[in-house]
Symmetry: C2
Subunit: 422 residues, 2 copies
């Protein structure tokens, strides 16, 4: 509460896992909350690769922010884009030319892909961060299969049937497994010319092993599992060029038209807006209580924040970190305190294809089919709305039983193979 | 079979209801079939308005053509766009520069909207024929609600909350009912400034009554039902202008930013390709056996064909007509016969909002809730794939029980309210 007795106005920028957790924590207190996002929906990003590989529909993993927060009457949701922050004057500047005055500000604007200075690669190697990204990749993969079906030249056909995923972290591994299943198994009955063995899926990692954040034993299991699905894993290999027609890996040219980028991210412009110190990937370096140094009452969380815990470990950009940070900041604002944030690590999960996963709980390491069931249950459980849990559950069960990929739709501007419609 | 003993090659252009029915009929015979479509999916068009109003996801009402026909090994599916037909040389010319030689040709290329010579209206009043059309309309409606939520000027807000549907046929009535429910009921809990009573939904029809193809008693019931949902019905009213900011109806300007076109269609370019005689809306005038006069072994079906039955009635452009025509042509080709086509009319259905419908079976007329259940069952039953039946059923049940509109996603180029992302 302010000195005049009116409730504090807390502005949250971004309705990802962090922003939403903060809004929920604050909804319990005597504050006014405004949550701004440039999209109308919260997205369950860990499952975006399923949309990109036609396993799920966008609406299965996204829900309107307004619906999620509808019962919190002190929370206002605003569809708008932040263009700058005036920290001194305590105002957020919006693209609609409106401004939002705040007493407390939580910046949770997430991250985008980073191409390490080779931004020209983006046109040929899209990453997967938004629904539109995912449907773009889906279109590319499905169109490549369609083109291959009618391509008489064997070399050109092989290029169309070569799919390269750059980056061996959880997203890259999940994506490679799903693409392998889509290209090699699900479609095998539907096409006449191309057979499962025609397709080649490469997973390229610059470091020595996949899933570097997992223990080496689980990395090895993941590699074995993904190779069983038909993925060729290339570790210790650097990408030196990506064009419309090929990718250059370790000095060798691999002809392909479908490259997916899962190698690096860069934080949003928040550090620039706040003129705050940032780490190598643009994340705001925050104090132990997640506040931005020098800016009283301004916090950065999730992928926007660079947080080093007491053990000297920089926390990774994953959903559980963002959620816990959002909740922490929300609670601290309500209590008017500045307790340091402590991350509780419940484990690390990655899935490989249709029914395998690796899980690292620290005290317990799982892999294989049982791990997949744990992973599936956890993901369905954490999905934002009940309806989504229900539908994702039904969809997965269906995919699991039939190998069907139900959302194999080519939509959007480039949906027809050759220019305008008949 | 040809004189040399090799099987006939039948080319089907278009995988709508007509083309798919023809392919299925032909799959049973000793012929080679090539089905060409410019999209990779068959679309259950009668439910497209549900995608436009966020009730269903695109993948719920669309399925890959390849999957639908996967077990018919004599059918080849081609994603390509027809640019012309050389009837004399018996070749179909494709956008990929390939050509398809045929022994028999079935043209089932459907229809697009028609703006009666005012094509400039299309930019402001999209129609709903494809998935991209439907997601465009969905984005427009949802963005208008979002903008209204923060608009301080009452006149501008009223314009944002005015939704106009042009055309009082089944599509227009269904669309108006669904928009009224979306704008007036489903969102009522989610917004803070706008309330259900702020929104205005207008349904404009040039003729004297809604659902002109139904008996007058059912038209009146439909009008009553849709007015109960809060739709203002304007019959005998002509549209004279549509711009970005208003629509002019019967000489009066109504400020609005969301106009949906459901007033007229025009057949595809098939008549032009074939240099065949066409009716007023561009449909090929076909012989009693659905063949194109003067072109031996070339047929037109569905929305592409203008067929007058023995009673002198020109058949409407609806799914059952297309399906029966497709099956008929397929069977006649297999049998080498030219039996006249006869349409079996199983009834006429239209739905109004969440739980009312009108049905005209000829011998039986239904309206109200029971009619809605019949309608729902019929639609779920006729959906192309089992998976879709399951999911549409679950989705509908969910919408019905909760008033939730689960697919309320703003996606695509213009998804953010104000230009580029933060």
């Amino acid at each position: 509460m302010k000195t005049d007795g009116s409730p504090l106005h807390v502005v949250i920028v971004g309705a990802g896992f962090g922003g939403l957790a903060a809004a929920r924590a604050l909804a319990r207190g005597n504050v006014r909350v405004t949550l701004v996002d440039q999209r109308n929906h919260h997205l369950f990003q860990p499952l975006l690769y399923q949309v990109a590989t036609a396993g799920l529909s966008p609406a299965d993993i996204a829900a309107p922010i307004r619906s999620i927060l509808r019962h919190h009457k002190n929370v206002r949701v605003l569809l708008d884009t932040v263009v700058d922050i005036d920290a001194a004057d305590r105002r957020v500047l919006l693209a609609s030319r409106r401004t939002l005055r705040f007493d407390r500000l939580i910046v949770a604007t997430g991250a985008r892909h980073s191409y390490f200075g080779r931004e020209e690669w983006e046109a040929h190697a899209p990453g997967i961060k938004s629904i539109d990204d995912a449907t773009t990749v889906r279109r590319k993969v499905l169109l490549a299969l369609e083109r291959a079906e009618t391509e008489p030249d064997p070399l050109r056909r092989q290029a169309l049937l070569t799919f390269v995923i750059v980056g061996g972290g959880p997203t890259g591994v999940e994506m490679a497994g799903a693409v392998a299943e889509l290209a090699r198994r699900s479609v095998s009955q539907d096409f006449r010319s191309i057979t499962p063995h025609c397709s080649k899926v490469l997973l390229v990692e610059a470091g020595p092993r996949l899933l570097a954040s997992f223990p080496p034993a689980l990395s090895a299991k993941a590699r074995k599992a993904i190779e069983d699905l038909g993925v060729t894993v290339m570790t210790d290999q650097r990408v030196s060029a990506i064009t419309d027609a090929y990718i250059e890996v370790g000095g060798t040219r691999v002809p392909t038209h479908t490259v997916v980028w899962a190698a690096g991210v860069r934080a949003s412009a928040a550090a620039m807006w706040l003129k705050a110190e940032a780490d190598r990937v643009g994340r705001v370096i925050v104090d132990p209580d997640l506040s931005v140094p020098g800016h009283d009452g301004i916090y950065a969380i999730g992928d926007t924040a660079s947080f080093t815990d007491a053990a000297g470990r920089c926390l990774p950009g994953i959903a559980p970190v963002a959620k816990q940070q959002g909740r922490h900041v929300g609670e601290q604002i309500l209590r008017g305190r500045t307790k340091p944030f402590r991350y509780r690590d419940y484990g690390n999960l990655a899935t490989i294809g249709r029914h395998r996963a690796v899980i690292d709980f620290g005290w317990l390491r799982l892999s294989g089919v049982f791990a997949w069931f744990v992973w599936t249950t956890a993901h369905i459980f954490f999905l934002a709305g009940f309806r989504n849990r229900l539908l994702v559950g039904a969809n997965w069960l269906w995919n699991y039983l039939t190998f069907e990929r139900g959302a194999r739709l080519i939509t959007g501007g480039d949906a027809s193979l050759h220019g305008d419609q008949a």
